[in-house]
Symmetry: D2
């Protein structure tokens, strides 16, 4: 299939590579062209703009950092909307806000373009290994096209509903739940550490029992070791998703005290010089530090 | 082996039955004798006091509701300590406080009696199916006796350390983490519900992705359905464990904002007439109710 | 002095009336003209637009509901900026965001117009009685003009600094502190009520001791009586200020757990049908309700 | 009047001195006798035990640190209860728990002894200057005796009710409210500090407006200057009162999220080596530190 792909960060590059390897004819674009090079070598053609990547595509994927980047590649002067043919489909895999997805879907509907939100759970290694969990939402006729493609990219595709923004909400809920796991593990390791139980042993015990989901294992070992670099998912991106979750919940009239707590953790860390080079699991540092157990001396 | 068993609530009865079925010679005691009857029919002998259940035992198990019950069956006038032979072993499976376990271990050490803490994760059906996750701690020579027995009762036995109270602390940490999962699911279902996503669908999507640990599945479906009766683990017991966790953490000098939040949820529910007949997952009602979504009208 | 006045809500109307009574030549504008009528009768002339109210003014005051209203009367097609003469001064008494004030100050600086932020503490009756506490910030040459006028309108004028937005921040901090007093009184009255102490008696005892500041007296008696209507300062306006405080603090990198708690209270109340017709002291209903003491049955 | 006085800490000594200066015949006791010396020089007689101080007294006062000290001087082997004549009155000014006061009142009732709780608001300098605010509760016939004496010791005596423990509850509520003021000022000064507004100036502006109660002035200036030594009211005592408030509220079924937040602040400070030598207003350090503004490097 003729496919466009915009956004070649570590997630996007891995997914685009899989599309090439699955035999699709892939036309990529990235703001900084160096990141497109490995894909060109693998057989992709490289576009000069999002519009150009969209022109011949039946389906175009985007995987970009935030609402602003999404708006820029989609509605900018040389954006996807300007290039996409009537009847073609845009699959947005980025973690963008509910409001941004709603706005995009509405504008495309008027323009006769298809829009599916398909955000993912999983880190770059999971993307490369086609092990992503994908949440998809959109109109039935668009999902018919999107789902078979998405199934090539992950281990499961969950259909959320017919309104694309619902998939974005589920993604934000998932990241919210992950952030609470991180905070929980921080508090649990603080208690264990002060009681003379090695936090790493605590994590092994719990994840060998009923806390056997991947996030407890992955974040548990990072937090027990206080190893927050390099960043698998960087702190500012986690903070952004927390902000989007709180905004979506506020619009719906739902208080989220857990998300408010995590929000304050992010602010505290940023004020102490913990930032973009840290994994978002560094949120656990706050609980460890409040118990007098932090190994990090926050940078000045 | 000659085994005593004190405390035949729904957990204790299921475990004692498994010991009988494994061929042990089991001597049971329960405060209200009616609950001993099914065990007697299955081959157990019934003692008139904890001391009597302990007299001939090489190992005696206890599975009782709280610190007060533990102290009563252990150090009461006709308690286990009065009956147990020097060199015999007491395996406490109850969820009791860290301080209570420390005190018990110290008194037994002086008296030449063995003490192992072996609290469990799992509900009565898991106990019956020998699917419990068991955390064990105690001196090496006591664990040598205890672990083979415990392996007959659960799907895994994790060794925490040589101080029995450490197993109690890990159990409290585990219940703390479960309580946070409950609160998290309450907040997540509140967001989904108000966005027009069926909370049950949300739970399916998330537990089919990376939130695939049993607690998310079990509590997720209860909370999505707002089905908090009958109680698998009753609200007051959950509240007691929250109190024990906060007390243990305070003694260690560790603030636990997540546990503080859950504490306030328990207090709020109790003040609104939600109590012993409800499962502790009713904690999620607070988040649902704060979002205007509670189906329950709290009793007057 | 030739004075313009835009925004004749209950606060603005009382202040404008005082300016008339102090002998100034006042030119008023309000979106809904009916509210200008009593001022016209008292001697004001009525403008057809903010620009017209600004045209002949040496100083123009604004007292409007929020950032959107401020932008609309200031930079709209017929806004103040279009009418104001070079060298004239705009005194903004509204509770607007720090960002909005910063933006306005920057644009006026370029245009050669003066801008002073002078938000106030006090309810409409205090405005009428010239008992407002006024926080003022701006360049020295603008404060020289503004302060003597402001001193005619309140019992004190505190100079915050030379950056107008700092006065807006102090106002938001003040409202944040008031919101915490409200929450505190809700929790205190809940404890007293359940202990058999009349909450009204509690408030009398405390405000006769060292809690003798006006907010404890005013909000204490409203909360003890659970009398949240009519609204002296309406719930949605309080919620807006909470939002502005959290946004300003986030921009500065400061976590405010107390403001986060109050934020959740507002969301919960709105989801239960408590809204614009209630005073913001209804925030205390949450603590009372969590203790099973609320007299209100939230509307459906 | 013949008066006993037990407990000569900085508060008790100042109060006892005032009783001597008012012409009473005062018989003092203190655990460490050196603290009785200045009172002896001023005319008091010094007893060898609480019982001896009580023997000839019509009224005996106690002002001790906590429940344990209260129980020790009251019910210990040579305690007040052993010395006090039937019909004599014990006025307890200590900040003790509600449960402790209830227990004491019940035991005295049986023994035909009178008990009034009369805890105070105010620091040692206020005690010396007879400026205390006193909350009193007890049976009418006991208040008839107590109130005229208490009026000699403070600037106001508020009658809470007929159950002595109600005065202790009001005192705990008051200290709870003070702790929230401290946290509020910490957060407010953090915002101001990062916005380039001198925190001391912020405190002046607010306390010159409607936050003109003494706690805002006293704690505001300490917090703005980050001057937490010497301790006017030491951190561990503040932590104790927070614990008593949470226990009393839990017994009544009232969640207090504000007190829970402050509880976590105390735990965090203690884990960082901030303790007995610091004033409890150091609670504000947490908010300042979370914003990257703390001047203190917590001791190792």
């Amino acid at each position: 299939m003729k496919i466009g792909f915009v956004g070649l960060g570590s997630m996007g590059a891995a997914i685009a590579m899989n599309l090439i390897e699955s035999g699709h004819d892939v036309h990529v674009f990235n703001r900084s062209p160096a990141r497109a090079e490995p894909l060109r070598k693998a057989g992709a053609s490289v576009a000069a703009s999002p519009a150009e990547a969209a022109q011949s595509a039946e389906v175009i994927f985007t995987m970009v950092a935030d609402d602003a980047a999404h708006a820029s590649v989609t509605f900018g002067d040389a954006g996807i909307a300007a290039g996409l043919k009537r009847g073609a489909l845009h699959i947005s895999m980025s973690t963008i806000s509910v409001a941004c997805a709603q706005d995009n879907a509405a504008r495309y509907r008027e323009a006769g373009l298809g829009f599916v939100s398909a955000p993912v759970f999983g880190r770059p290694d999971a993307a490369a290994a086609r092990k992503l969990f994908i949440m998809a939402a959109g109109a039935d006729e668009h999902l018919e096209v999107a789902v078979p493609l998405l199934e090539q990219l992950g281990q499961s595709v969950g259909i959320v509903g017919s309104d694309p923004s619902q998939a974005n909400l589920v993604k934000l809920i998932g990241n919210f739940m992950l952030s609470v796991i991180i905070e929980t593990l921080g508090e649990a390791c603080a208690v264990a550490g002060k009681a003379g139980i090695d936090p790493m042993r605590l994590v092994e015990l719990l994840t060998s029992a009923n806390f056997n989901a991947p996030p407890y294992k992955i974040y548990g070992s990072l937090i027990a070791a206080q190893r927050f670099q390099p960043a698998g998912f960087s702190l500012p991106l986690g903070q952004k998703d927390n902000r989007l979750m709180l905004a979506a919940a506020e619009a719906l009239g739902v208080p989220l005290p857990l998300a408010s707590l995590v929000r304050d953790r992010f602010l505290s860390l940023r004020s102490q010089g913990i930032g973009a080079e840290h994994d978002w699991s560094a949120v656990a540092l706050c609980a460890l530090s409040d118990a007098g157990l932090s190994k990090q001396s926050p940078a000045g």
